[in-house]
């Protein structure tokens, strides 16, 4: 695979055998995050899966920090770790997910999933390594992801998508409400009398 045209190098490519401190930290945190992710998709306890997801997402947030994208790191912590995982936990509760080990956490599709995911992983890793093995990120220049810079970029160059996104969020909100309310009181069983007003809210 040496014939792949190499990306123009930044000056002074140190090689993989002499990692910098940032690299060591990145790899360590990455291993933790990946392990947590694997635990998330393999654990038989549903609530544990959510907690492992917290670890994985937090690890990714740390990686953002290491890549000097601090604003995104905090947003990641706030939104993912803060709200998304809480939502997922609520979802688990509402669907009466079993607490403790549930032997049925995996479907019968597991071997196929393993094959496909493994194949995809091998393919992607080989490709990525082959393409970027000599590409160097310079982290010594001023940070690229400070809140100031990000805010400027967002509200100077990306205002229109940002506003469109707000409309999309509104639509998602309305959609979630519509989906989760009961379709008319007649469809509801009679015992839902006390709850129908909540559902209709």
């Amino acid at each position: 695979m040496t014939h792949v045209p190499s990306v123009p190098l930044a000056a002074g490519h140190p090689g993989f055998l002499s990692p910098t401190g940032v690299e060591i930290a990145f790899v360590l945190v990455g291993v933790v995050a990946l392990g947590a992710a694997v635990a998330t998709v393999t654990t038989r306890q549903l609530v544990h899966a959510a907690l492992w997801l917290v670890v994985a997402l937090g690890g990714v947030a740390v990686e953002y920090l290491l890549l000097t994208a601090e604003f995104i790191a905090w947003v990641q912590v706030l939104i993912y770790v803060g709200s998304v995982v809480v939502l997922l936990l609520f979802g688990l509760m509402l669907t009466r997910a079993p607490i403790g080990r549930s032997p049925e956490a995996d479907s019968g599709n597991r071997p196929a999933a393993l094959t496909v995911a493994g194949g995809a992983a091998v393919l992607l890793v080989v490709l990525v390594v082959d393409a970027f093995r000599s590409t160097w990120i310079r982290l010594d220049v001023p940070a690229a992801g400070s809140t100031r810079l990000t805010g400027e970029a967002l509200f100077r160059n990306w205002v229109l998508p940002f506003e469109a996104l707000s409309v999309l969020l509104l639509a998602a909100l309305v959609g979630a409400i519509v989906l989760s309310r009961r379709q008319g009181a007649s469809a509801a069983p009679p015992e839902a009398a006390g709850t129908s007003e909540d559902g209709g809210r």
Binding site: N109, V116, A120, L123, L127
Partner: protein, 670 residues
């Protein structure tokens, strides 16, 4: 109005009546009867007027071009040519059609399909008028084919019964079998002669000055003869006529007396110069006529079904006409055609009354019904008709048959030019033999029907088919309560025969009696020298007829004394001896046709069906089954499990990506 206009009106009126009847029949039932009878009667009157004006003199002519044929010298013309033959035959058609229409008003009184029936009868007579008056071969063919279609519908009037269906189909197919050569013959004749006009062709052929001759006279004559044999029921193609008795009796009268079968004879008479120019064709015609004559008479002697007896007698009488044509005497042929038309219509219509009254077609069963006292009109008119049929002087049949026999004798002994003497001998001998047989079967029929013994069974209490061996049911059950054999009050009702029927019978009895006496006046209408009976033949024929009658009577006395009131009282059984069974089945010709033509056709159609279903369809069905199986196979993938779908999707994209990478590296490396 000029004679041409009148003549045009003659076919037009029944045609319009038919169209109106078919259009209005369902909606205005009150108009159907007048609409059926009046135009036919007016047309008959007009035909008579045309005949009176023409008077046997110069032919009335008129022509207008109907359609070009692509050859400017050979146009199809709406041409009119009325000579003595045409005028008189048209009068016959008019009289018989009117009689049939009148008779049908009461005979089919309760029939739900009377409107269409009456319209078809009108159309039938219109087509016959067209054939009679037309001078153009193609227009004649149009009328000829319209008659074929109408006969198909009318014979199949009671299409609920299987017999009627198969009879109509048989009549249609058999006549069409003759019509194909007929069409080819017409085209060959026209291309030979350079015109479709009959009068032009005959004038050219008969004129001694022009010296013009047909290139293939025998071929053309034989081709035309095939069509004539189909329509006029000559020997090889005659089998449809006895079967056609499944139609209503008035239709039989119409077909047998004046229209369908007469058309064939009439066409030969019109085109006689064409036939006369080929001795071989005349000989063939003579042989066919002789065979049909004698064979049909034998069959008639064996039948138990009243209508079948009459049908076979028609065959035999038609063969007389064909025999007259075979000796190139069209005057005699048309003379016999006219008189036969009258008495045969009378016989059929009277037979309808008899069958009505007796509730059965079987002669043996009729003998026990005391028809003499119950339907005296029918009894007397039938007697008159049978006397005419048997050619007993002074009835009309005597004179016309004598004319035929005289012509044959003349041809046999005096060597007319162009007519082979053999043909004359054949016709003469067969004619004399048939005269004997005719008298025999007429006597037998009369004796069985009216003088049957076993008076102990006065009420018609048995179904029609029970006693008659080959009896065809006259009417389907429930169609016409009058003829239901098991209807108890049919006896008192039978006494009051409707006036329409009785009047028609007696009206037809007049020409039956007296028409023959016109033999002196008729040659003026025809081109014959004389139609007067000669002494030798009349003595000979009447003698053998009397012998036949007496022998039959003797046999009847003998058999009745042995076994009164049973089927074995039939004198025909005794007279025919071992031939009886064969003759009853029409000499097994139907079975032969079935073996020779019907079975191979059926087998071929089965083969075609098999090929279609098992070979051609196999591909179609195989394609359908293949895709169905493929669908079943593919359907297995539709588990409904989203994860499977997604896994397959991602696997597919991974494979695609791998392929892309390999392709990219491959090309980069190369």
């Amino acid at each position: 109005m000029s004679t041409q206009t009148l003549a045009v009106l003659v076919p037009l009126l029944p045609f319009l009546s038919a169209a109106a009847g078919l259009l209005l029949g369902g909606r205005a039932p009150g108009f159907v009867r007048p609409l059926a009878v009046l135009p036919t009667a007016v047309a008959a009157a007009l035909a008579a007027l045309v005949a009176a004006r023409q008077g046997g003199g110069t032919p009335v002519r008129g022509a207008t071009e109907l359609t070009p044929t692509g050859n400017a010298d050979l146009p199809v013309q709406l041409a009119l040519h009325i000579d003595g033959f045409a005028a008189l035959v048209a009068v016959l058609v008019g009289v018989v059609a009117t009689a049939v229409q009148l008779y049908s008003t009461s005979y089919l009184r309760d029939d739900p399909r009377y409107p269409s029936y009456a319209a078809l009868v009108s159309l039938f007579s219109a087509a016959m008028y067209l054939v009679v008056y037309s001078d153009d071969l193609v227009v004649l063919l149009v009328g000829w084919e319209v008659m074929g279609v109408c006969s198909y519908f009318l014979i199949g009037h009671h299409w609920e019964t299987r017999a009627a269906r198969s009879a109509s189909l048989k009549a249609f197919l058999t006549t069409k079998l003759g019509d194909v050569p007929f069409l080819i013959g017409i085209l060959a004749l026209a291309s030979d002669a350079g015109t479709f006009r009959i009068s032009t062709i005959t004038t050219r052929l008969t004129s001694s000055l022009s010296g013009w001759e047909l290139v293939h006279p025998t071929l053309v004559a034989l081709l035309l003869l095939a069509g004539v044999a189909g329509k006029s029921a000559l020997f090889p193609l005659h089998t449809w006529l006895p079967t056609a008795m499944a139609g209503p009796t008035p239709v039989s009268a119409l077909i047998h007396a004046a229209t369908m079968v007469a058309a064939g004879i009439y066409v030969v008479a019109r085109l006689l110069p064409v036939f006369a120019s080929s001795a071989a064709a005349l000989l063939v015609l003579a042989v066919l006529a002789g065979l049909t004559m004698a064979g049909a008479a034998l069959c008639a002697l064996a039948q138990d079904d009243l209508k079948r007896v009459l049908a076979y007698s028609t065959l035999s009488q038609l063969a007389y006409m064909a025999g007259a044509l075979a000796v190139a005497d069209r005057g005699a042929a048309v003379f016999h055609l006219l008189s036969h038309g009258a008495f045969k219509a009378l016989l059929f219509l009277a037979a309808g009354v008899l069958i009505h009254a007796a509730g059965t077609n079987s002669l043996t069963a009729m003998g026990r019904r005391r028809l003499t006292s119950r339907v005296p009109d029918a009894y007397w008119t039938t007697t008159l008709g049978l006397l005419a049929l048997a050619a007993i002087p002074p009835f009309s049949g005597f004179f016309s048959k004598e004319a035929v026999l005289a012509a044959a004798e003349h041809a046999a002994l005096a060597h007319r030019s162009g007519v082979p003497a053999v043909a004359g001998w054949i016709v003469l001998v067969a004619g004399l033999l048939t005269a004997l047989l005719t008298a025999a079967y007429a006597t037998r029929m009369w004796l069985l029907a009216f003088r049957g013994t076993g008076a102990q069974a006065p009420a018609p209490a048995e179904p029609a088919g029970a006693t008659g061996v080959g009896a065809i049911e006259e009417d389907p059950p429930g169609d016409e309560p009058n003829s239901l054999p098991d209807t108890p009050p049919s006896q008192p009702r039978a006494r009051r025969q409707p006036a329409a029927m009785t009047v028609v019978l007696w009206a037809l009895a007049v020409p039956t009696l007296a028409f023959g006496l016109l033999f002196d006046a008729l040659p003026a209408w025809f081109d014959s020298a004389t139609l007067a009976p000669t002494l030798t033949t009349s003595v000979l024929a009447t003698g053998v007829a009397l012998v036949g009658a007496v022998v039959t009577y003797g046999a009847w006395r003998h058999t009745t004394a042995l076994a009164p009131g049973t089927a074995s009282a039939d004198p025909g059984r005794l007279l025919l001896g071992p031939l009886h069974t064969t003759a009853e089945a029409g000499f097994r010709l139907d079975a032969a046709y079935r073996a020779v033509a019907v079975r191979p056709v059926l087998a071929a159609s089965r083969l075609a069906r098999m090929l279609d279903r098992d070979v051609v369809d196999a591909y179609v069905r195989g394609a359908g089954r293949g895709s169905r199986m493929l669908g079943a196979l593919v359907r297995r993938a539709q588990t409904g499990n989203l994860q499977t779908y997604l896994a397959v999707l991602v696997a597919g994209s991974v494979v695609l990506a791998v392929a892309a990478v390999v392709a990219a590296t491959g090309t980069a490396g190369a």
